[in-house]
Symmetry: C2
């Protein structure tokens, strides 16, 4: 590590560079798709040097994982409405909004491309999945404590998230509020 | 079209070239992944000229769609066991075997990458999905004619195929026969 920069201050140059680089990745993903751009393309779009990106992220794959983690995590806080049905409906609606938004498909495809099953597998995506599963299980555990139905996070993955993900990935129909609510109702 | 080849005979040179090119694509997908190889790489691996590939398929994306269509279609004939539960269990087991096989993940990722939602969208993948949905609906319609439960092909997509696809794409657990049967049982 031959770091020669001054110490980073939150909200300072490092934060501005981070935001510009994330935006450049999101734009390039939407315009060209995964595998069709380089660190040099990201740097040029963000107005920074290639070396700044390599120094901070190490590789294009690590940068891409960071973008997926940030975008898909930040937008779906776990709801706490007081009932299992309310929590699951709100959570499902949040996921639906996130993956049908302007960058949703690109982020979902990127998550698939980066998942550690492949030859470019990265621990970061596994961590994302594990982290989300824990948050979801906490929400489900609160319902059990209230004496409501006991569900496992994998049941929610299989019967609420997976159908929405696959429909978005393959472009099958819109995710209407009725459709999303119906997925939750079938599970309960 | 300035086709200058002699007419193709089934089982002749054209068939051998087709098989060699499909195998080269499958190998390159497993080794490098989508977006990491060119028509030139496929041609070199298959021992044919680039121009042979362009003349027959037109582009790398059309060739890739042809491979997905051939591989994922040919391996899952629709069962006809005499009962809805038997048909669905057999169908689900076939899909599970196909997508957990040596090239399954690569083909599933390729289907996601090529689906017409993206900037490189191709009609061929839409046709594949529509064709599979029709075959599945025919199987479900036979059950209705026998007086069994009425199901829609999209119910099967949402609650049997989507969970298996997402678990393979994100590397979550093995698809055990018990897990696959349980997906069918929950739907029925």
């Amino acid at each position: 590590m031959d770091e020669q920069q001054p110490a980073r201050r939150p909200g300072g140059r490092a934060a501005r560079v981070g935001a510009a680089v994330h935006q450049a990745v999101t734009d390039l993903l939407s315009e060209r798709g995964y595998g069709k751009f380089t660190v040099g393309d990201v740097a040029a779009r963000a107005g920074v040097a290639d070396s700044s990106i390599y120094r901070r992220w190490g590789s294009l794959e690590i940068l891409l994982s960071d973008v997926v983690l940030t975008r898909l995590n930040a937008r779906s806080p776990m709801p706490d409405t007081g009932s299992l049905a309310g929590d699951l409906r709100t959570y499902a609606a949040n996921v639906a909004r996130e993956i049908t938004g302007p960058d949703g498909l690109a982020l979902l495809r990127l998550a698939v491309a980066l998942s550690s099953n492949g030859q470019q597998g990265l621990q970061a995506l596994d961590d994302l999945l594990a982290d989300r599963a824990r948050q979801l299980q906490s929400m489900l555990d609160r319902a059990i404590e209230r004496g409501e139905q006991a569900l496992d996070a994998l049941d929610v993955l299989d019967h609420v998230m997976a159908p929405m993900y696959i429909r978005v990935l393959f472009g099958i129909g819109p995710l209407t509020p009725e459709y999303v609510d119906n997925l939750v109702d079938r599970l309960l």
